[in-house]
């Protein structure tokens, strides 16, 4: 709120001071500050475009400062497709107000009426008096003193020249020429190199290690041994790797993990339910769970069960960080999605005041949710404590990342719905089972920590106890509440507290499994009603924007498809992300090889409405990339594990989609000039998975309900037999 009680847009409500967000520098540039960080989604470019547009300055003048604690507004975690809505909307308003302040100053300076002034690239002109002054002459190097009041109207979208266009990403040149962009590339005077040795499995305890022998290896500066936490610091990187390998080889562990049976994870989830909550309009309530009660006059009642396995974020670059301890202060360069929450967690872990810690966000490889980016910062800090005054660069190995990143939870989703004689849905039930989707670091206490190394080192802290999530459209129940117009919805979230495999936020949270289930089931219902899947969806959806993306995707893929039996098929699926963000429909064409069970996606279309488009290519890349990622998750991916250990340790044991397997994705953006920005970065994975299942059904008549759709499973479903029947 501002002083007049008007709600300011996005994160501006957290800090309305103009100087917190934008500065006119002395050197002819403009600095834009944001608490959101770049995770490969293009947010820095998008906020620069918004600022350049509202201020009427060229893109090349904009500098973006993001994710540095103490220097930017605390905007929490960059997650949940919230950045455009939170920081984007804030910056649109605050830069409009900054422009108004500059115009007022210019009017006084030039002695003319503010309404007569024009701005071009930061130069304010008075055509009447043929005089001009620049932003930099007026304000260069002086912070704005006012606060945003929400009284200034941002620019009319009809006059946009930058917003909605395609501009190169801010660091595009560096990214194509091998420039130092990533945390992995950071160079610093006196930099030394660290590595850690992790236990072989959850709960493994270190019995013995020959640290003394490793201390004598070339270049080794320190060997850190604390409980079951092991690390090395060496002068150069290869020395650190060799020391790490020697340490790992000498370490003896006692393993104790008792992991569930990977092939029966659905039964394990259902058997280990902790609590069940009815979800009402997207929000779980601590109230009695109603029974399923199909209408007595139902023409048909269908039920189905869908599952997804544990998935990895599987960032291409393993997590890395650079940490420096000096004079009682800790500085960490890292790729955390939440610099301020990380600082609070590290403060508790290390016994420091929060203001003795500075987190400087530096890009990692694309992250897609909570991976090892936070954990590696504590690892680096612990190593840096051992070599005070020297910055330590620590990079996880590929196996470290595969074994220790928090996974996307396995889920079971059961649906039950009834149709009347006209093919209308008259009753709708959805029950889901999942472990937590919320493992991000919280402030570390004396007994509990969300950061990995705290579980292993002395004194050991426990993993936080997982609790049910009662927030709207969050956690496992994200998009469990159907977007369709249904006369009755009964949605139940069954929470499983135990986490034999560490789970946390994975792109889209529950959306992927819930939309896979809902949109597969909509196809099953359409088939039962004898209706076309697109028509069936449209008859249950009044929202014009939702209808528009479905119709656009259907048209682009060439709807309607032929019937089952050709071996090729088309499928479609839709969601409105979180029931409040972007509208996305995905359509796919697949070929199913009956002999070997391989599914090939030959074409994909994604149609999205994310409100006012800011960075057209940035939005398209997010939607297209989400479709490709969904194809990869749905066709190929699952975390493999035995009774004690995770066995997916590299790209051979956790294969992802390759170039020959990836289709071209055609993207259709339905721009809504002047409408609020809607988060889209997680909008296309749910419909991506379901569209694939629906296309396979269209091609073969076989319904795949268990992800991933591996060739073995496709063969086991009897595709060839069904075809021959």
């Amino acid at each position: 709120m501002n002083g007049e009680g008007k709600m300011l847009p996005g994160s501006l409500a957290k800090d309305a001071r103009i100087a917190s967000w934008v500065a006119i520098e002395a050197d002819g540039t403009v600095t834009v500050r944001t608490g959101k960080v770049e995770i490969g989604q293009g947010i820095r470019t998008a906020v620069a475009m918004i600022a350049a547009e509202e201020l009427d300055v060229g893109m090349e003048r904009i500098r973006v400062v993001s994710g540095i604690t103490g220097d930017v507004v605390d905007e929490g975690v960059t997650s949940g497709s919230g950045s455009m809505e939170q920081t984007g909307r804030a910056l649109r308003q605050v830069t409009a107000e900054a422009r108004a302040a500059l115009i007022a100053k210019a009017a006084a300076h030039l002695g003319v009426d503010a309404g007569t002034l024009e701005v071009e690239d930061g130069t304010v002109r008075s055509p009447a008096t043929n005089s001009q002054v620049t932003y930099w002459e007026l304000q260069g190097g002086q912070p704005f003193v006012g606060v945003a009041r929400g009284a200034v109207a941002p620019k009319d979208p009809a006059g946009y020249t930058i917003v909605g266009s395609c501009v190169p990403e801010l660091d595009a040149v560096a990214k194509v020429t091998g420039g130092a962009v990533f945390i992995h590339d950071l160079a610093m005077d006196g930099l030394v190199h660290g590595r850690v040795v992790r236990p072989p499995s959850t709960g493994a305890v270190l019995l013995s290690v020959d640290a003394a022998a490793v201390r004598h290896l070339d270049g080794v500066l320190q060997v850190i041994e604390s409980g079951s936490f092991l690390g090395v610091v060496a002068t150069d990187e290869w020395q650190a790797i060799k020391a790490r390998d020697a340490l790992a080889l000498s370490a003896q562990w006692r393993e104790s993990a008792q992991l569930p049976d990977e092939d029966n994870i659905s039964a394990w989830l259902i058997d280990n339910e902790t609590a069940a909550h009815a979800v009402i309009d997207g929000t779980p309530e601590d109230a009695p769970v109603p029974d399923i009660a199909p209408p007595v006059d139902a023409a048909k009642t269908l039920e189905a069960s869908y599952t997804r396995p544990y998935h990895m974020h599987a960032s291409l670059g393993p997590s890395a960080a650079v940490a420096l301890f000096e004079g009682g202060r800790l500085t960490v360069h890292g790729a955390s999605q939440g610099p301020y929450p990380l600082a609070r967690a590290l403060a508790g872990s290390l016994g420091l005041e929060e203001d003795a810690i500075t987190i400087i966000h530096t890009q990692g490889a694309g992250c897609y949710g909570h991976n090892g980016a936070d954990d590696v910062c504590l690892d680096a800090a612990l190593l840096a404590q051992a070599v005070e005054g020297r910055p330590v660069r620590l990079q996880w190995t590929r196996a470290d990342e595969h074994l220790w990143e928090p996974y996307g939870p396995a889920m079971v989703v059961m649906t039950n719905a009834s149709l009347d004689n006209d093919g209308n849905i008259t009753d709708w039930n959805l029950d889901l089972w999942s472990t937590t989707h919320q493992g991000r670091p919280r402030p570390t206490t004396e007994t509990h920590s969300g950061l990995l190394a705290d579980w292993h080192r002395e004194p050991a802290r426990a993993r936080p106890v997982a609790k049910p999530n009662f927030s709207n459209e969050s956690g496992a129940h994200r998009n469990a509440w159907s977007t369709y117009d249904l006369p009755h919805q009964r949605v139940v979230s069954h929470f499983v507290a135990e986490t034999p495999l560490r789970t946390s936020s994975f792109r889209g949270l529950g959306n992927y499994a819930n939309i896979f289930a809902i949109e597969s089931f909509m196809d099953e219902l359409a088939a039962a009603a004898g209706l076309d899947p697109v028509d069936f969806r449209l008859r249950h959806l009044a929202d014009a924007r939702g209808r528009a993306v479905i119709e656009a995707a259907a048209e682009a893929i060439g709807w309607p498809p032929g019937g089952p039996g050709s071996g090729t098929g088309k499928g479609i699926a839709f969601n409105r992300y979180k029931n409040s963000k972007a509208y996305v429909a995905v359509a796919m064409e697949v070929e199913v090889n009956e002999e070997n069970g391989v599914i090939a996606v030959s074409r994909a279309v994604v149609a999205g409405d994310a409100g006012q488009v800011v960075s057209a290519h940035g939005l398209a890349c997010q939607l297209e990339g989400g479709v490709i990622q969904a194809i990869s998750w749905t066709l190929k991916e699952r975390v493999r594990f035995g009774p004690q250990r995770v066995t997916s340790v590299d790209w051979e044991t956790y294969p992802i989609l390759t170039f020959p397997e990836a289709p071209i994705v055609e993207c259709i953006l339905l721009n809504q000039p002047g409408e609020p920005y809607l988060g889209a970065g997680e909008g296309s994975q749910g419909p991506g998975g379901a569209a694939l299942a629906n296309a396979v059904f269209n091609a073969t008549g076989v319904r795949l309900r268990e992800i991933p759709f591996t060739p073995e499973r496709v063969r086991a479903m009897g595709v060839a037999a069904r075809r021959g029947a």
Binding site: D171, K242, G625
Partner: protein, 156 residues
């Protein structure tokens, strides 16, 4: 035991002190200051570390200093520079063929090796040439479009 190795990197003679079994990647990213090639897996599975060795794509995470000595090594930094972009680099920008960009240097290097031996590859040939490079953000289609665009530009 550390030895001195004579390397030829991006057309320049360089010397590196290191163990003979040290992968080239650590010489590039460390003493040579060329950070374009990335560590991704350390086992030739992802292509993030790709360089050209005598014109052929090689995985710098596995090639040792002993193997790289006296060979002609080209990294992403040797393909083009910010002031003098190679058509592949321009095309990757024009097609917005990356999101996080971590895999990008390896892809451009691998595509360069392809175009050097096949100046007019179709989409299937490009995908096949890139089959040992992984991209997790899902920019695959745009990458293939970028390589096609660069091939046309180079043919002009």
């Amino acid at each position: 035991m550390a030895e001195t190795f004579k390397l030829r990197v991006n057309g320049v003679a360089r010397q590196v002190d290191g163990d003979s079994d040290m992968p080239l990647l650590y010489a590039l990213r460390g003493p040579l200051g060329l950070v374009g090639a990335k560590y991704g897996c350390g086992s030739e599975q992802c292509g993030s570390c790709s360089v050209l060795m005598d014109g052929v794509r090689a995985f710098a995470c596995k090639i040792t200093l002993a193997q790289a000595a006296s060979r002609d090594i080209v990294t992403i930094e040797g393909i083009g520079t910010p002031d003098n972009l190679h058509p592949l680099q321009k095309a990757f920008m024009e097609e917005h063929a990356f999101q996080c960009g971590y895999c990008t240097p390896g892809l451009i290097v691998t595509a360069k090796a392809l175009l050097d031996r096949d100046p007019d590859p179709d989409a299937a040939a490009i995908a096949s040439a890139l089959q040992d490079n992984l991209c997790r953000c899902g920019s695959h289609g745009r990458v293939i479009a970028a390589v096609r665009r660069a091939a046309k530009e180079l043919a002009r």
